[in-house]
Homo-oligomer: 442 residues x 2
């Protein structure tokens, strides 16, 4: 009897309309999984590209059926992304990461993730300021340029992981992935600094303050994640949960992992870093204290959750790429839009090169043995593998440039459409290149 | 870098406030699981009661800290309940139900669920009209009385399942549980009928129309669930998903089950019935076509999901029971409020007795062997076991009596507070009784 009352109310208040998009979205997710599975043999596709393609097609269909009014089904919500979709992805990454490799390369990862992101952000910000000021794009302020630097320095670890193989290239995998996570902590500090420091009065203590702030955030986020993970292990071991029920163990693991993420949000820490370390600790301690069936369940349930969240994001990005409103604003100046996208792509390439090669050189200086060093070929791979910009960049661009829905501001619309272009282009090109490389090997 | 931009925005738009309730809720869910586990030995408590108690305590604390303003953290949303919490509970019930028992007693279940709910709704509606009209409770119309009948005929299958044991009393379990699910379909039709039929012009064809409508809804909902379940089995078997990945199988099962629920919503069918049959078919066919690890994962993941959703509901009901606004409205007439609650409790008892005993008698007439018949002791258990009113009743009462937040209407406030009283009372009393009975047996 539950649903009828709801339905009646829904029909009266026309809330039933929310059922249609959910249906379509779930059906499309199923379609992506089935198509992704069917195309797996071909090796020139994966779920991400499939989801992007399916999203684009759906966008076209909706665009045609609604008479060019909208390609949207759901309004993009940062809450949806940062509260529901991102935590399982990052947690699962920590849960499944090869811990030995990760900790062996800890210093190099820190160097790449922290210093590297700083260099990249600075390069892109300076480059963007230089070029865009010349191009006379209005409505962008200093804060926007710095944001652009941060947005396009966010490596898409989600997508990167699908290109690199943890078993074939463990060193590269842990470097690129670890960098992506640390990346986040750096950016938190960057923005804290940008927002809190008066940009017109930069003095000598700014750098020190910045460093202190960064260390505080990184260390406290890590500690929070580790403590929550250890606490879950302690509770489950001490209370011997498996005695009664597997479900309780699994529920407690999921809830405590999520709690670590939300606690970090509460204390304004880096939630992504926290949940990542929570995942590492849980897979190292908690996981060994639960029953055999809990172990199998958590391993696959977390992976599935993360898998669905990823497809969801790509599906959304694909559908949103066709949002007619944004393209209309920029359609009177297609040249500018293409120029901006090209410049940003160029800056991403340069910004990444600006830290991968020098920092690899530095890292190699500290290694004694030849096999520990990062060869020039591997450096190129690291540079190339981290070029993809994905869902995180999209979410940030939406956040920065759609304040109270102001996409009709010319500068903002251009930045959004350019971000979409860069994301689609980098993802597709990287994927193609990866597959060509693979076929050459065969 | 993800979270900082969001945080900045959040701080500016004071959205950060939503992080606090999520934190508290997740922490309380963890606490409920741990306490429930610790008290399991005592046997006089379970997670539901724990969650209710924890919710009540939290409500008191919030009430005191906010200076008596509010005990709310989250605004109750029917979407949250019907789109996110209920589907996993019902799906899991179908997935884990003992199919042999269920189908052996299919006719009896149908009799109880369909005819029984009708009798119960009629009894309660007539009784409520009779008593409440005398008590001069304003603002209740004919539709409200019929709604009251339906609200208090909704057996709380969630709670009932925790009292009956599937292994110890398989016949009773399948009867009571099956009844609870079919119950839903009946109520859908009831409300369709109430809304669509002009209540002032009831003629002879009304009953026929009603019956046809019911059969249509029941059959089409079942078919939708069965077809979706079979389709998932076919896809997974035919495409041999396990070859590549366990995660894809699990994801596809979850998504297709959810799709069946949402499709039923889309076509105005009984979504609960659909997802229940989808669960049965999936556990019977799909489950046997997936890999061993998928089997373990789905079994425990579904149970965990359902488990967390149940705790969530009880926690919410506990917290909401103290909502000061509703009690304020009724505090000027405590006598009326107590009378209404007592009358409703009495009507629930009578309404249930009015169909359990006669229908058991009818059912026994069709059985040849003595062991197939429902003994008088079992009839009492069925009557007693289905008395609990729970989260579904709450959700429906909110739906019916808080239209656009009008709880300050006297009649509506009384109905909400009475529902809370009946739910708390029936749950706690049933639980106590159950445990006393158990201790006597020892």
């Amino acid at each position: 009897m539950a649903d009828i009352l709801w339905k009646m109310r829904a029909m009266l208040s026309s809330d039933h309309s929310s059922v249609v998009p959910i249906n379509l979205f779930v059906a499309l997710l199923c379609a992506c999984i089935v198509i992704g599975h069917l195309l797996e043999e071909q090796r020139w596709m994966n779920e991400s590209i499939t989801a992007l393609a399916v999203g684009l097609c759906t966008g076209v269909v909706i665009l045609l059926t609604t008479g060019g009014k909208s390609s949207h089904l759901l309004v993009f919500s940062e809450d949806l992304f940062f509260i529901y979709l991102l935590p399982p992805i990052i947690f699962n990454a920590g849960f499944q990461v090869k811990k030995k490799q990760f900790f062996r390369n800890f210093m190099t990862i820190m160097l790449f993730g922290a210093v590297g992101t700083l260099i990249s952000t600075a390069t892109i910000s300076i480059g963007a300021t230089h070029f865009f000021k010349k191009m006379n794009i209005s409505s962008l302020r200093v804060g926007d340029y710095l944001a652009i630097g941060a947005i396009f320095s966010a490596t898409d670890s989600v997508c990167t992981l699908q290109v690199l193989n943890q078993d074939e290239t463990p060193l590269l995998y842990s470097l690129v992935f670890g960098e992506g996570v640390v990346n986040d902590a750096t950016s938190v500090v960057l923005f804290h600094a940008i927002q809190s420091i008066d940009l017109s009065h930069i003095n000598s203590s700014t750098a020190a303050e910045f460093l202190g702030n960064f260390l505080y955030l990184f260390i406290s986020s890590t500690i929070l994640g580790v403590v929550t993970g250890l606490l879950s292990a302690y509770i489950i071991k001490k209370l011997y949960f498996g005695r009664h029920s597997t479900d309780r163990e699994v529920a407690l693991m999921i809830l405590m992992a999520y709690l670590s993420y939300m606690l970090a949000e509460l204390f304004y820490l880096s939630a992504i870093l926290t949940v990542f370390f929570c995942g590492i600790v849980m897979s190292h301690y908690t996981w060994h204290n639960v029953t055999e069936s809990s172990r199998i369940t958590t391993k696959h349930a977390f992976a599935t959750w993360s898998f669905v969240a990823e497809i969801f994001i790509f599906l959304y990005v694909g559908m949103d790429a066709l949002d007619i409103e944004k393209w209309k604003v920029v359609s009177d100046s297609p040249g500018t839009s293409i120029m901006v996208s090209s410049i940003l792509l160029g800056l991403v390439l340069v910004g990444r090169a600006a830290f991968v090669f020098p920092l690899s050189f530095l890292s190699n200086l500290t290694k004694k043995f030849q096999y520990e060093k990062i060869g020039i070929k591997q450096q190129v791979t690291i540079w190339w593998a981290g070029l993809m910009r994905g869902a995180v960049s999209m979410a940030l661009a939406y956040n920065q440039f759609t304040r109270s829905g102001h996409t009709h501001l010319h500068g903002n619309a251009i930045m959004i459409t350019s971000t979409i272009t860069v994301v689609l282009f980098s993802t597709v090109v990287r994927q193609m290149n990866h597959l060509c490389g693979e076929q050459e090997e065969k």
